[in-house]
Point group: C2
Chain length 649, copies 2
Amino acid sequence: MADQKLVEKSDKASQLTLGFGLGQTEPLAGSSESVGKKKAATKSNSKPGSGKAPRTRATAESMAKQQREISVSEFFAKNSHLLGFDNKRKALLTTVKEAVDNSLDACEEAGILPEVEIWVKQTDTDRFSVRIRDNGPGIVKNQIPNVFGKLLYGSKFHRLKMSRGQQGIGISAAGMYGLITTGKPIQIISRTSSRAVAHLYKLAIDTKKNRPDIIKDEAIEVDFPHGTEVTIELVASYNKGRQSVEEYIELTAIANPHATLILHPPVGATLDLQRGTDELPDETKEIKPHPYGIELGTMIKMAKDTEHQKLGAFLTGEFSRVSPAVAKSVCAKAGVTTATWVSGMETPVIEKLYRVLQDTKLKAPSTNCLAPIGVEAILAGLLKGIKAEFYTASTRPPSVYRGNPFQIEVGLAYGGELGRDRHDENPDEEKGKREPAQARVIRFANRVPLLYQQSSCCTFKSVLETKWNNYTLSQSSGAMPRGPLVILVHMASVWVPFISEGKEAIADYDEIRKEVKLGISECARRLGTLLKRKKKKSDFAKRRDVFTRYIDEVVEATRSITTFNKEDFRQSLIALSQNYTAAADMEFDDHGKVIKKAKPGNDLGLANTVVVNRDEETDGPEALFEDDAPKKVANVSLKQSKKKKKRRK
Amino acid sequence: MADQKLVEKSDKASQLTLGFGLGQTEPLAGSSESVGKKKAATKSNSKPGSGKAPRTRATAESMAKQQREISVSEFFAKNSHLLGFDNKRKALLTTVKEAVDNSLDACEEAGILPEVEIWVKQTDTDRFSVRIRDNGPGIVKNQIPNVFGKLLYGSKFHRLKMSRGQQGIGISAAGMYGLITTGKPIQIISRTSSRAVAHLYKLAIDTKKNRPDIIKDEAIEVDFPHGTEVTIELVASYNKGRQSVEEYIELTAIANPHATLILHPPVGATLDLQRGTDELPDETKEIKPHPYGIELGTMIKMAKDTEHQKLGAFLTGEFSRVSPAVAKSVCAKAGVTTATWVSGMETPVIEKLYRVLQDTKLKAPSTNCLAPIGVEAILAGLLKGIKAEFYTASTRPPSVYRGNPFQIEVGLAYGGELGRDRHDENPDEEKGKREPAQARVIRFANRVPLLYQQSSCCTFKSVLETKWNNYTLSQSSGAMPRGPLVILVHMASVWVPFISEGKEAIADYDEIRKEVKLGISECARRLGTLLKRKKKKSDFAKRRDVFTRYIDEVVEATRSITTFNKEDFRQSLIALSQNYTAAADMEFDDHGKVIKKAKPGNDLGLANTVVVNRDEETDGPEALFEDDAPKKVANVSLKQSKKKKKRRK
């Protein structure tokens, strides 16, 4: 319907191209005419007699009349792809994602272990009704219309603290998309406590004015003590596999082991992912902006808006890590004092102060605004979700970009069943090719899985830039490494710089890329060690094979010389072979030296790494080698991992 | 400054990772403690005695207090990377780009041949002042504050017509970025005619309220009769090469041969690109939305907002291509009449009408809203800017995505000097590799060069998806083709779906990708023909070489048999060889058949293709072979191309 060719004879532009392979037979009189016209073009650009209407000339006045304000909802309605509504499949995912993100955020802030239930029902061809209910704290009645019926409205934008939502766009945008495509309003039921009565709203967003139209507003009885339920009907399509709602829910469970997630798909069995731990992530604290990260203009603005009157109070009160002593010394260097009135400061003075602050040594921002997933949870998640042989994870120390604290976590899973079915899974792979499939990257930002725009993502670029050949994986220049490998990357930050409002990929800041690459290298180094050892082991095994293969011939050959017990001789040769190639059963360190074999067992006394021997069908992870990292490190208890596995089944 | 590591002992998150390769020596008491804590976690999540402060529990009420409206300027100030201000280098380019785009749009609307002059001056370390002046129609005084000091304000958003600007964000965002980074307001001088007095404004954008703060507002004398001059001071960096302001200006000249562009860089010579043609692009007309493209919700909204009272008038008046006859039949099928009152229609009735409309055969939208560059201008631009051997171009017929008409144009340049210096130019290429460099893609949207986010661009993905091996170019799976090749892609549309507000790449709509691929195939087929012929020619030349190499030996060998004139014999052998391998001098068609050699000359009587023999140092393009397309096609006059080249020197 939106794809038909337009070949109108009256249109000059298309005439120029009509001849290209379309087999038109009419003579194109217009063509030569148009070339002739071009030659006859005059500076004045008026072409009397050329058959064209004279050009309408806009003036400053006529153009001024067209100038209008654009409402932010109009803007995003027209640019719905910016919000993740490019196509029907993605529309469904984005809708579920925005609602679930909000539910998880609300539960965590209220200290409630989240339980989110999702119903997806097909109502017509290409039409679905999506209902998401959580056990969160609910939403105060008079806030509901703005939260769900207005873009750029929310509680998370103006604070520096890690959360899934940050823009105040997501859920209203999903409601708007539903309204635009089906004409149906968004429905919200919310109850703030078992003592309060629940309330139902139906809202349509007025895109021209970016404000909610209240369609229905009434008290209602519900069977849940507290929580919020959102229902949106939208044009969408439901698929399984990569980039599906299912994948999103499964990955969300990996990054949020404290959450119970239940999905009722339109067809097929319910996906019931019970929580794997009863501990909420660490509580995060809001922080003040750090002087290193802000821009000069922001500081000028802050000085204008502050409630503090004296410069000293302003500096210590509005910024992170500016102690009274620091404030005093900074003021002195800038030629002012802590008693200077903020309101009387001119721009050049603030600029001086700004420059002094940038050159002053300050403590890095506090990082209790962040709650990383943690290596244990990453390993547990990978163990549960991916049947590999080797698992490792690493949480980087916090770092800063543009003044925003952030923290990178990386996990790797390698081998096992990953190599076996990847060829079917990977749609990019052409059949008949013998190259192993490309590695898969699983991306998270503030515990939310990112499923689209992978190639634009800073984390993906970091994977490409890593020299995987150094870790014995095959990789052609500028491409993904090849092999049975899954790479998990998580960025936790008070403000994740997404490349679009749809929050599908992380923007490519140097500081972030550097940290991701360091995290990947840490994990890849451990993997490289395993692979090198495996290679050495297989080299020795080959040597033994060659020797063993000739034992029978040697036995035959020597028989003709003298008589002796053939069987005895063979056995002694086999013993000899096993003795000389015993190395094939040994473990070797990085430099090929024999190391004492680690005892297989349930306690993984080693750094953030789990190895499962899937070939021998053992039923649990096994410690294979010691990590090459320094000794004083946090350990992963296998028991815990196993417990989690069981719990989350 | 923004990259320091944060290793705080008080922070649990960082403790977990302290050991990783950083060589810390202190014992990490906290580590095991934290693991212990995890094990002790209880369902209630309150951990008395664990040493942590009790968790603060947000309630619906406390959360409601934090809910706030977010101004669109605040949003984009925090997300400056969405607008193309991710880094200092890009900030400079984006600022120039937004101003130049506006200038070109204004000139064209007013029917003025554009002349845009740009000054970039360094004012401090990392600080530049950018001034852009055009000869456009100027801006009415009272519109200036909103146009430059408010995001989402403009004349181009609400109409369906091709233009460079479309969002009403660009130039205000550049001014906002300047203000945020340097504290300096944006300065605008505008004059609407030689009879009017010029006016100067200095504006700071109030980000909290998204409205202009007027700093200065005065009449001023200027030496230009009409036009606008914008000055922005910003934190930036100035570089040459790829993705630089220079590249942007040069590419803009290729796509806008009617514009004169003059750049005064902070150092080095002025870049003076005079226009190559005095003809403005075809005037574009505003169109109404086409019923095929709109969403149901939009139609409901239109029915609510329309000034038409009767359904017939509404349908014919507010949509493209709905004639009174079509309106009548659509109404009948939907169970209403053209005399039905629009205001009384319920949603289900509109939905019925909408569905009937989608199933009704309608003429495709008019395409006089588009002004493609045209094959002549693309070829002229490529000939001027790129020293290749082979050039071809193609303008596709218009098509439609989401109801928006669009048109794709593709140009190819191959061989010549492209192969010679690409290894230095391409930063991705590692030294010492013998593979030819990857092809380069030059992207345009509504005549504006796109320099960033290439890998996310629909045009780039189309290049990757093209099977270049079919056209005898080397390409590994999922990668760019390799060879001395430049691929130009232009999308002209009433609404280009950019992947972000920074307008750096085109979103990946199926309809668009399909058209781009068809355009590329058209051009690549012609290139493939050339390359196959070249190969055949070189095969014959090799045969001759072998034969010639042995002539002397044959002469020597036969001498011993009998006496004869050695020189005569050699000459006759050479003649023989030339006769038998004359094919090496011939031209061959696709199937290896000899074709009559086209006469080299100045008139290129062939389809949209130019071949320049750079090896023989001829000074002009030469017609080498006939195109395989049907005969009735628009021709490219070489004379014109040469004229353009000379003019634009």
